[in-house]
Homo-oligomer: 235 residues x 4
Amino acid sequence: MTYGSPALRRAVLLANQTIPEAGLAQLTWGNVSGIDREGGFYLIKPSGVAYHDLTEDHLVPVDLATGKVLAGDLRPSVDSESHRAFYLAWPSIGGVTHTHSTNAVAFAQAGRDVPVLGTTHADTFNGPVPVTRTLTPEECATDYELNTGRVIIETIGDDEAAAAIPAALVANHGPFTWGATPQKSVEHGIILEAVAEMALKTLALNPNAATPPHLQERHFKRKHGPGAYYGNPTA
Amino acid sequence: MTYGSPALRRAVLLANQTIPEAGLAQLTWGNVSGIDREGGFYLIKPSGVAYHDLTEDHLVPVDLATGKVLAGDLRPSVDSESHRAFYLAWPSIGGVTHTHSTNAVAFAQAGRDVPVLGTTHADTFNGPVPVTRTLTPEECATDYELNTGRVIIETIGDDEAAAAIPAALVANHGPFTWGATPQKSVEHGIILEAVAEMALKTLALNPNAATPPHLQERHFKRKHGPGAYYGNPTA
Amino acid sequence: MTYGSPALRRAVLLANQTIPEAGLAQLTWGNVSGIDREGGFYLIKPSGVAYHDLTEDHLVPVDLATGKVLAGDLRPSVDSESHRAFYLAWPSIGGVTHTHSTNAVAFAQAGRDVPVLGTTHADTFNGPVPVTRTLTPEECATDYELNTGRVIIETIGDDEAAAAIPAALVANHGPFTWGATPQKSVEHGIILEAVAEMALKTLALNPNAATPPHLQERHFKRKHGPGAYYGNPTA
Amino acid sequence: MTYGSPALRRAVLLANQTIPEAGLAQLTWGNVSGIDREGGFYLIKPSGVAYHDLTEDHLVPVDLATGKVLAGDLRPSVDSESHRAFYLAWPSIGGVTHTHSTNAVAFAQAGRDVPVLGTTHADTFNGPVPVTRTLTPEECATDYELNTGRVIIETIGDDEAAAAIPAALVANHGPFTWGATPQKSVEHGIILEAVAEMALKTLALNPNAATPPHLQERHFKRKHGPGAYYGNPTA
């Protein structure tokens, strides 16, 4: 049995291929998943398969309720349980991306939120992209990947909050991003890496840099909510 | 009816395609326009169309006097009103470019002018590339994009000044550049990003770096004005 | 006589070609070797041949016991004696890579270990990637390349230690990495460069950044040892 | 009449094309020349021609003794007089390269020599790559490009010194490099940019970094002089 519509399978494959194309990770690092809410499962990149070898047939269907693999011989990405935690916590998301992109990792390793320093950030993230607390030894010892997902949910909050800031940094690890679709989740990974690089360079030029709240609000509302007018090709 | 000569349409398309090719923006960020002064309109990238899908037929003709779309179903780039303000203020310009290039954005977010630190800068910009003041809450609330254009014009000055320094940084936002043609405007965006990166690295090595005024003047005059002798293939 | 199995020859060629593809060195810098333990020799990149000209026929077979070239007119990479020292000291390794990748060289030149700042590092290197002591004038004057290998072995320790941290930085020089195969050795070079860049940026954001030991241990054990569960495509 | 042998014409074209391929300059910036010592002329890139349009027929022959163009309608690069000064001062060089590569420019703008921090530098440059003094207002006003060449020669010294350190940084401008052939001169430009980036990052990690003199000497002698043994494919 083949899990997932042709559209979902293609979307998950393309979003995974975007990771190396956009320079968000080396080697086999990183992974994207996409969910079929009606079917109660998600498709995720398998563990240890090179991106240039990846096909739709490699995608691993995972049961949303149990985390069990539904078909095939391949193991899901080691981060599968983190993805599952997000899908369970936030009903409106449709895709999840994990990368090791350089500048986002630098903030995660430094234990610093990516601050809102300008409109590039505010167009997508309605506040700082937060870094989680450090996992305890106990959280590392058992159900580590599930606990990684839980600490992000603890940091971000509910479904509405996850839509307002669709990204988080796991302390001493790296970024997770999500969105309405697999492609949106990986686009948020691209944007997070771009704004993290901008922020790192901005702070080198001015350690006290900040954005006025009214400018931040204006830009987020240009793209989100009832008055949004940014990025729609047709009026 | 098709707006714009084949040459103008091709120039605006190519200049837009230069944005991703030169690494000046991610995803659909950024936009270039070019003007038909006799016709009283400019052509600009539509909102939310991916660069690799963009064709001449997508370019949106906008009335210079009113800002209204003259034909087609597509919406112009959200920054259209900023472009329009420049065309009205500066009669000698023929093209406008907006990007979110990393190093220029870093200076914009840091609230610092890009200083004149060497001849790479002075060949094109006859002084620091200035950062605007922050827009007020009122300027953000109503006619935000038009006010973005206005604050740049307030910062740069008249048509002559716009030719001497064909670039500005909007505070906590990013760069706008302009030139005699669409291609020149995007080339100024490439140069601004290059000199911003050089400046950031120079300041890391020497926070007090500066260029002697006589060297700055020499380089600008090599390329501009009656005694210019740089870059002309034929004598 | 042709030295090396077709598989080994192909592996050494591909691993060498990975150096320029992954941006780990300029021009002809860098080299990879792979060993035939039964045959008692290793194949290494010749000195001064451009990567895009390199074929399997250029690979130089070197006697493990004596360091003598076994066939052909080409000279082995100038670093051949360093490679030989590693193969003699560490029986479980199958490939060695030397590059001049920018960020790893920066740490080597700064005389600083690459610290463990996050999971990207801990997944591969079970502790800081150490920088060697400076070679003495005597070690530079005679058998310089052999002494370069020796000072790395002195820094790393025995075969088990070489498996736990498969990389070192020669002071004021650059990185050497190794692994079970030529491809693994160059992958460790890619990872070292990535984590060195992340570390440099992390330290710019937070000079006191560090990783909790329990997180470091968890990640290394995900990929190594009897409980490893990371990166295996099949369960 | 066609100036230059087919080999020289091809070498100068390929070396110029290496500038954009190696990322050493934007747009039409930068230039390479190569000399025919017997013919008493050099071939140089024309001013203002895009690299992707450049052919051998565009190369401009310039008289070594007078600086006059010997044939064709194209003007030589604006930096031609700097190249000519080097050819007159240093009889053993065969090619000259000028770029605006980012990290080398950063050192030039900061007014700092590129220090010898490791073997990557010492393999090619037998000491710091020096930055010139600032040109006086008089030197900028008349014969500016010739004076740019002269101040480099004043900084570097005689033919032997130019072979030992085949590069210099013009203060607040950028790098010039030279070598036995056009290709060698552009390779020195690639190496200078690489070691400048390494140096900038090294100094960020350790402002007091330095290389022991005996290591520096060892590496330069591996590649230069009677005992050289690096980079020769055949023994």
